[in-house]
Symmetry: C2
Amino acid sequence: MKLLKSQKTFHGFSEVYEHDSKLTGTSMKFSIYRPEEVSTIRGGLIWLSGLSCNEENFITKAGAQRFLCELGLVLICPDTSPRGLNLPKEHESYDFGSGAGFYVDALTEGYRDHYKMYSYINEEIYSLFDSMFSLKGQLGIMGHSMGGHGALMLGLRNPDKYKSISAFAPVVNPMQCAWGQKAFLGYLGETDSRPYDSCELLRAGHRHPQSILIDQGLADDFLEKQLLTENLEKAAFEARQPLIVNYREGYDHSYYFISTFVESHIRFHSDQMESNR
Amino acid sequence: MKLLKSQKTFHGFSEVYEHDSKLTGTSMKFSIYRPEEVSTIRGGLIWLSGLSCNEENFITKAGAQRFLCELGLVLICPDTSPRGLNLPKEHESYDFGSGAGFYVDALTEGYRDHYKMYSYINEEIYSLFDSMFSLKGQLGIMGHSMGGHGALMLGLRNPDKYKSISAFAPVVNPMQCAWGQKAFLGYLGETDSRPYDSCELLRAGHRHPQSILIDQGLADDFLEKQLLTENLEKAAFEARQPLIVNYREGYDHSYYFISTFVESHIRFHSDQMESNR
């Protein structure tokens, strides 16, 4: 593992690392924010980014460091796909291939050898992050858009690993929207994709013991056709999964929206950690 | 004037505008943050960015909106040079030409027709901003690096227009560093450049009635050869110009450094406005 950058931010450091991933078979980058005083660290957060993002968008734009530092939390932000490959159709569109791993383990030719983003996050990043900061499983997961899908789906499938789940403008029902359908077809072919769909996971009996937190802007251009927030509300209601959805008048899909509400999400995760510790 | 983007951020809007500048003879962009409630607006801040930045760096990375909103301040962030031209050597380096206007009124061939960044800020942007939000002269000026030079120099030359001055890692003595020497030679030729050098302005008798605030990281790679902070401390001491310089251990030249201390700068300007109102 190689430290590429380390820049003091509040009382801590914003850092970028590179490591050789066994699962993707490539060199992968991730960013970290860590409070300077190791003794203050109470837990960790995994942030999963959206389409076209890399490991740096969140850490440069969300303004999270102030609160991570205050609350004694480390955060890791992985990249959204393997890089440096040249697979068929990998670099042709923003919603498939590079920058668009969709947090699944691919099964289709070419992609199955590298696009193992589900296991990359759930095993490789999880273990590396947990051991790097001795978190002893005190981890929450959060994300935005495609990464919100990742956070919900990973959290519902692994409630013992992720103590709390939150999302900004998540893709909640990928099987029912164009982004998800394109990704699932390209990565999974004709294989059953329900294990990667949060609404279907709830229908199949998956639960998380804590409330799930979602913030969703009402001026978000993707709400109606891609995000489908109401589908998750319906599935959670039927499954009796506690869910808080804050619809926010006037906010769009951008990091300006995230920066406005990131404090409340970080405090949400922090509160869950205290009660679990 | 054309509104290109408007995105809700905290209780206000991050916006990008485009207008035809009479002074540069080009179309220029700037960004604005404005609290939603017009009645809460108490004053305005002009932010001048550094080399290679455009009108969006500050507004996407500094995390200032939270505090501008809280304190009822609007902020304008102009671009750092004219764009869309093709003058000799304009696009060859990061420290001259596009993205590097250095806040002077150019005199050299080609540049003198467009690179009028001193007057563009001091007249065109100032008037437009003042009238857009009925600020009645309640304006402060701040900036980073090359933009820190701009803030100090504009503020010292026009103490009646700018009620308060602050800077992050400013170029304080451009005549004595490579960045400034290259810019002044390219834009001013052999003409006396002292009216654009903050240390020389202090020596020539220019003063600001308020204390000037500077934050400077001690892990800033440019401190020793380009920024020369101590030269301003010396000049201010000799001129009895009140100056606060906060040297910050471990911080570099980046927006991570700015995001850490931007709250204190915004409060500094806000406090001056109250006492001036």
